[in-house]
């Protein structure tokens, strides 16, 4: 894990250096004099060789300093603390919807193979992985917000709502502070973006659950469980699903990367104030520190999630531990 993280930090640092344009010019604007530009470059350490700059970057990174945003002059870490919870909240809701719906659809598909349900669920899942989610989000807005008027168009909360922030997760904070009106409001706000973002992982989970369950259901111990008269629900969800879980957990873990990419699009469509939109605005305004810090954080989390998935394997399947 750590060597990969180190490699990734090197890669991001050098990629950011490749972005054309002069950071000093970005900070001071077009009218800056040569001498003031030079002063800013020296101040930022841009006159030093690249490996020295990288050393300084790492030295600051391990102290939790990602530099300042050029646009707001605030520390990048401070901005991350604002935008990060919004994305994690959205991703968690999406992954919960995706795992639940995907797994149930996959199990039913496998137990009723070649049924109408199986065919339609497989058609839906292949459509799901082909779905341009930014378009789906727009269509959801068109149907549920514009025509039916059931759900809000954008944002995390209505303008008149206020939540006292404890964790940064609006849903959780409104629960903690027992602010039920805000909780309801936040819940309605997260539904459309949550569903939109869950589309691709849901389809992947449904597909892998189906094929993994089909393999498990053919095994002898399932026949034994059926023969001793256990209810199909117990056999399918307790006996079979547990052993079919490893590939499913892998897919859910890997989906995190897809979610983070999808978050940029979903957040753009729903004006969701999260990391994706924040990084994208950083890209538009060439705010190097924001792009660097944001991408680095997401890449680290991605690596971390993959490591956690490896650990989960052992927990799900004790045979791996024995071997």
């Amino acid at each position: 894990m750590f060597p990969t993280m180190f490699g990734v930090s090197v890669l991001i640092f050098f990629m950011i250096q490749l972005i054309p344009g002069d950071p000093a010019l970005l900070i001071l604007g077009e009218r800056a004099t040569e001498s003031s530009l030079k002063a800013v470059r020296i101040n930022m350490g841009l006159d030093k060789p690249l490996h020295v700059q990288y050393g300084k970057f790492m030295y600051k990174l391990v102290q939790g300093d990602l530099g300042d945003s050029f646009r707001s002059n605030e520390p990048v870490t401070k901005e991350i603390a604002i935008f990060f919870p919004a994305t994690i909240e959205l991703s968690l809701v999406a992954i919960i919807i995706a795992s639940f719906v995907g797994m149930v659809a996959g199990v039913i598909s496998a137990t009723k193979q070649y049924s109408i349900f199986d065919y339609s669920s497989m058609v839906f899942s292949i459509m799901g992985i082909s779905m341009p989610i930014f378009w789906l989000g727009l269509i959801f807005i068109l149907i549920f917000s514009v025509h039916l008027g059931w759900l809000p168009i954008s944002g995390r909360l209505s303008a008149h709502m206020e939540v006292e922030l404890v964790t940064g997760f609006v849903l959780l904070d409104s629960l903690i502070t027992k602010n039920w009106a805000a909780f309801r409001d936040a819940f309605w706000h997260i539904l459309l973006p949550g569903f939109t973002l869950s589309t691709i992982p849901m389809a992947l989970v449904a597909r892998i659950t189906r094929s993994s369950m089909l393999e498990v259901l053919r095994q002898d111990y399932i026949r034994t469980a059926n023969a001793k008269g256990l209810s199909p629900l117990v056999v399918h969800y307790k006996h079979a699903l547990r052993n079919a879980l490893i590939p499913i957990v892998t897919v859910i873990g890997l989906s995190f990367g897809i979610l983070m990419g999808g978050a940029v699009l979903t957040e753009t469509v729903f004006a969701w104030p999260g990391m994706g939109l924040w990084i994208l605005n950083g890209v538009y305004s060439r705010d190097y520190n924001v792009v660097q810090g944001g991408v680095l954080l997401i890449a680290f989390i991605f690596i971390l999630v993959n490591t956690v998935v490896d650990i989960l394997y052992v927990w799900i399947n004790p045979r791996i531990r024995v071997n």
């Binding site: 490699g7 269509i139 990419g261 699009l265």
Partner: protein, 311 residues
């Protein structure tokens, strides 16, 4: 997805081969797979969708009634023909510049197919080269190349494409390059795995004994035998490239207006969501169908080429 996989013997042609005295004809695994795939309805539908889009792309100037960039300010935001106020002059309506949506969608197929070809082409050539070198030479070369590939894989795919677009600058050409680059790791991994498998086989050792050099062994002997998984990867990659390019264009980093790229069309249409549903709906359906076609065919090819599923 193997639900409609053929369950019969792969092909009659192959049974003929076994008859003594008859002149035997060898069939490449690809032809065999395509033969098996014909009974897979999902794959066949995918192939038909792709053919339709290919025809649209090739014959766009003949099929489209108008130039995709022609503006007609008198015909702004006309609804589709079957709605009140619409007419068969613009069957799918017009956008806020009075451009014919139907014509723009047809020309959009041209852009998307080109994106697929170029992005997958870049990933295919670079990825195959890296994977083949890695799997053939192994040792330190393999370690260096694969560590780099693993590093690229530890970025969320779309985020990496975004960072590359920041470096390259927003344009359709750069989007194709960026998508090609982020797809390289998958090709490299697939090829490396296949090359490692093939390397120790007798025919490779035989060719080496006959004096074939490294390059000849890799490109003329080993790689042709690794094509099956590569073809699947190309098909799925094609669909994904179309999707990613539309997404990049949607956030303003890919194709720029007024190009009739489907994602860019959606980006422009966003502001019209309250007024004109057709401007938003049709480009998305095109993206969905095109990507769906490639995913359906890719799935079918994978099932057909997977030796484990063969009879």
């Amino acid at each position: 997805m193997n639900m409609s996989m053929t369950k019969e013997k792969p092909s009659d042609m192959l049974i003929d081969e076994k008859k003594p005295g008859k002149k035997t004809k060898s069939h490449s695994p690809l032809i065999e797979a395509l033969w098996r795939m014909r009974k897979n309805r999902i794959a066949v539908v995918g192939l038909i969708i792709i053919l339709v889009f290919t025809i649209m792309a090739v014959f766009a100037p003949l099929l489209a009634p108008y130039d995709p960039l022609d503006q007609s300010l008198y015909d702004k935001l006309k609804p589709p023909a079957w709605l009140e106020g619409g007419g068969w002059k613009n069957p799918l309506g017009t956008d806020d510049f009075g451009r014919d949506i139907f014509s723009r969608l047809i020309y959009g197929a041209r852009i998307s197919m080109m994106v697929g070809f170029i992005s997958v082409g870049i990933a295919f050539f670079v990825g195959t080269f890296l994977g083949a070198v890695s799997g053939y030479y192994r040792g330190i070369t393999d370690t260096i190349i694969m560590r780099f590939i693993d590093m690229l894989l530890s970025f969320p795919y779309f985020l990496l494409a975004m960072v590359l677009m920041t470096i390259l600058g927003p344009s359709l050409n750069n989007a194709m390059i960026a998508i090609g680059i982020v797809t390289i790791p998958r090709f490299a991994r697939v090829v490396r795995g296949s090359v490692l498998d093939e390397y120790s086989k007798d025919y490779v050792q035989g060719a080496r004994a006959l004096g074939a050099g490294d390059a000849r062994l890799i490109f003329f002997h080993i790689l042709p035998n690794c094509m099956a998984p590569l073809i699947v990867q190309c098909t799925l990659g094609f669909g994904e490239a179309i999707l990613e390019c539309a997404a990049l264009s949607f956030i303003g980093l890919g194709a720029q207006p007024p190009e009739p790229e489907w994602g860019a069309m959606l980006a422009q249409a966003r502001a019209l969501i309250l007024r004109a549903w057709w401007v938003i709906t049709f480009p998305g359906i095109m993206i969905l169908l095109a990507v769906l076609g490639f995913n359906m065919l890719g799935d079918g090819l994978r099932d057909a080429l997977d030796p484990k599923l063969r009879d």
